[in-house]
Point group: C2
Chain length 277, copies 2
């Protein structure tokens, strides 16, 4: 039933690190932001995993994603100076490469603290072990410049697979993704586009709509239709239908999308409901 | 460094099912809500996994959680009437039990549609294959009543492990968790409580605070202190310190918490900063 075309896309996994996610203190908006951006540029996000600040949990999650053959693994969180920032240790363990002081990363961090020292935020320009730690990367890794905060992002090549580590502070994650990582990802993945439509269906409950969705999807096998109930089945029924398709030539698919939408509208009307775009 | 006491707690994993999560259309608030509630009642959420509406992905995620020895696996989403609601098929595959019509689940669903029929929302009281599907549970499973929507929740016993499947609509998930699942969970887990404090630190950057956190934690090994940078390291620095501990007797720990907070305040002041509760 699931579109086979999905597997032609480049696969991604997101691994978010942080106890705050596992105790429900923080909602994982980093993962949904990354998933949205990756989908927009044509990538296929296969799995999102949240793990604790725990070396063996981080390392296991990365190893499992590598084993699944996922092309791009993007981690968020755990790059900072505190004892429980251990994403790079976990990744190093997963790829079996030791952590080593990276000169470029050290230079990036030094420049940040130098600027803070000159602005009077720091009393001494001392690169303490906690600060130095942020420049200790798995051997062969490439640091990615952080324009917003201190800890650089990290890119690791592992055979044909790639691991990118981003900070957990949203503004830093976005900055490094957009300015450093995106150009590299775009070179490595097949260009595809997601085309989508949203249809709001009123007065037809989801179980009555289910066979309609199935029928329209069977007539348009490249289009995936997902229903999201917004009202309650037993109360006023409002269902959002989300039509998506991934294509390398978006112009061609537009006409088919319109046809699918038209068919849905007619079938919903026949069931005594209304469908609005 | 991580508190060993964590492993004394009952372990939980959350598996959220739905393409909408993996394309970044929806932020996973179900997982954070569940994680918060489970933490409040003394459970330890080890991992959160989001997978697509894909039979083999769902089944793999459940199998992996079972293999890790996690006591309680809670899934959200994929219980509805559409073709791509396949959580129960995935769980059935993972535990190697066939799906079978469950009489109690069928009765629950029938009552819902009967009520809709009587209120004029449904034109005929026809239990179509799509509606019947919601009552097809892995053999031996127990349906959990859904007071808000149609699809019942599902509880499966697998040796000493438990799998609970909840709907993806937040109001339905909350209803079943609070009214049906919580009393069962509370019977099965050790009673522990989380005690927490929040301290806002101003004018000390995270890398300067890191050794302070380490020192205070070494003096109070039962207390976990996590720093969350709120301002930017290179701008005005605001850091939230979150102190937590899990205990079976919350009264005893209060004094130690106060001591740890006091020590942090003194050390922050010595660094020229301010710490407020």
């Amino acid at each position: 039933m699931v579109r086979k075309s999905q597997h032609k896309q480049t696969t991604f996994e997101i691994i978010s690190v942080g106890n705050e996610l596992l105790i429900g203190k923080v909602v994982n908006t980093n993962a949904s932001w990354l998933a949205k951006r990756i989908t927009e540029i044509g990538g296929f996000v296969r799995r999102i995993t949240d793990v604790r600040d725990d070396l063996s949990e981080i390392s296991s999650a990365v190893k499992e994603a590598l084993k699944r053959g996922t092309k791009w693994i993007i981690t968020s969180g755990g790059l900072g100076p505190t004892f429980d920032d251990m994403t790079l240790s976990g990744v190093a363990k997963a790829v079996k490469r030791p952590l080593k002081l990276n000169k470029r990363a050290y230079q990036m961090i030094f420049e940040k603290y130098k600027e803070m020292f000159e602005r009077g935020i720091l009393k001494s320009l001392d690169i303490t072990p906690e600060r130095r730690k942020m420049a200790e990367l798995p051997t062969g890794a490439i640091p990615l410049q952080n324009r917003v905060g201190t800890a650089p992002g990290v890119l690791i090549k592992f055979g044909r697979q790639r691991i990118a580590c981003l900070p957990g502070v949203p503004a830093e994650l976005i900055d490094i993704f957009e300015n450093e990582l995106l150009p590299i990802i775009q070179k490595s993945i097949k260009r595809t586009y997601m085309v989508e439509r949203v249809l709001i269906v009123k007065d037809v409950i989801e179980s009555a709509l289910a066979p309609v969705i199935k029928e329209v999807m069977s007539r348009h096998p490249t289009i995936y239709i997902k229903s999201h109930p917004k009202g309650r089945e037993s109360g006023a029924s409002i269902i959002e239908l989300h039509l998506t398709t991934t294509t390398s030539s978006p112009e061609k698919i537009e006409k088919e999308m319109e046809q699918a939408v038209q068919e849905l509208r007619e079938k919903v009307a026949a069931l005594g409901g209304m469908a609005e775009q």
